[in-house]
Amino acid sequence: MKLKEIKEILQAKIICSKNLLDIEIHFAGAADLMSDALAFGEPGLLLLTGLTNSQSIRTADIIGAKAVVYVRGKKPAKDVIEFAQSKKIPVLLTKFMMFTACGRLFSHNLPGVHEFKEKKTNAR
């Protein structure tokens, strides 16, 4: 699924790296605790979070996440946006709550990390 489709599904606004709307996203994960994201994150992840400080972008960069979605209408500070831009990580803002945002993506066949890995293993 392309990032621009995710943007539509979440009725989101993209606030940086707008040129990357055509990247493919294959799975997603959600966490407000960055240690959890570091534990389950896989390269290519779409990270949904309600944590809008710089650690969310740093975590996304460390795990190799492709994009970050901030839920519940939260907006990051300017320095966080600049940091995301410097790391070429697109950032989307959605008004949906975490549960709803995840549910909308899941119902459009975007799997979670474990479902994606299982599918990949079973396909071998």
Partner: protein, 148 residues
């Protein structure tokens, strides 16, 4: 452990400096990328370094971090000055945490730090003297390249 080092770099981590938290781990990731280390190893190293760096920022006064690269692998050693850990076995349990609200607001303090470091490294050695500080050595083998 640092014999035959091809590269050895030192960094200083300041405790409670939340605005700069994680910058050294990002730097380590960039250095390893420039050196052409396989991505799967960089990723594990960066995650473990980030968790370890956050532990210093959250709990210690200051620490020295040494990044050492040999043909065998990458070693990160962190020696901090701080309260130390009373019970290392308990600290290694997933979910155990003594984090403050300020730390939790940063998205950390879930009690996953040390277990995450162990999970991502090939060898981990930790020792601590309560009231003085903690020493952590983590090793990543360069011969173990997992599938991306």
């Amino acid at each position: 452990m640092h014999a035959e080092a091809e590269l050895s770099l030192n960094f200083e981590i300041k405790g409670k400096n939340f605005s700069q938290a994680g910058t050294i781990s990002t730097k380590i990731k960039e250095i390893l990328q420039e050196l052409g280390i396989p991505m799967s190893i960089i990723r594990r190293t960066a995650i473990a370094a980030y968790e370890a760096e956050m532990n210093v920022v959250m709990y210690a006064d200051r620490a020295n971090l040494t990044l050492c690269l040999t043909p065998a692998g990458i070693t990160i050693s962190i020696n901090d000055k701080g309260p130390g850990i009373e019970d290392i076995k308990q600290a290694m349990e997933e979910g155990f945490s003594t984090a403050t609200d300020e730390i939790r607001e940063m998205g950390f303090g879930a009690g996953m730090g040390l277990p995450n470091i162990k999970k991502n490294s090939d060898k981990m050695k930790i020792s601590s003297i309560p009231g003085k500080g903690t020493s952590l050595d983590i090793f990543f083998s360069l011969s173990k390249v997992s599938e991306q």
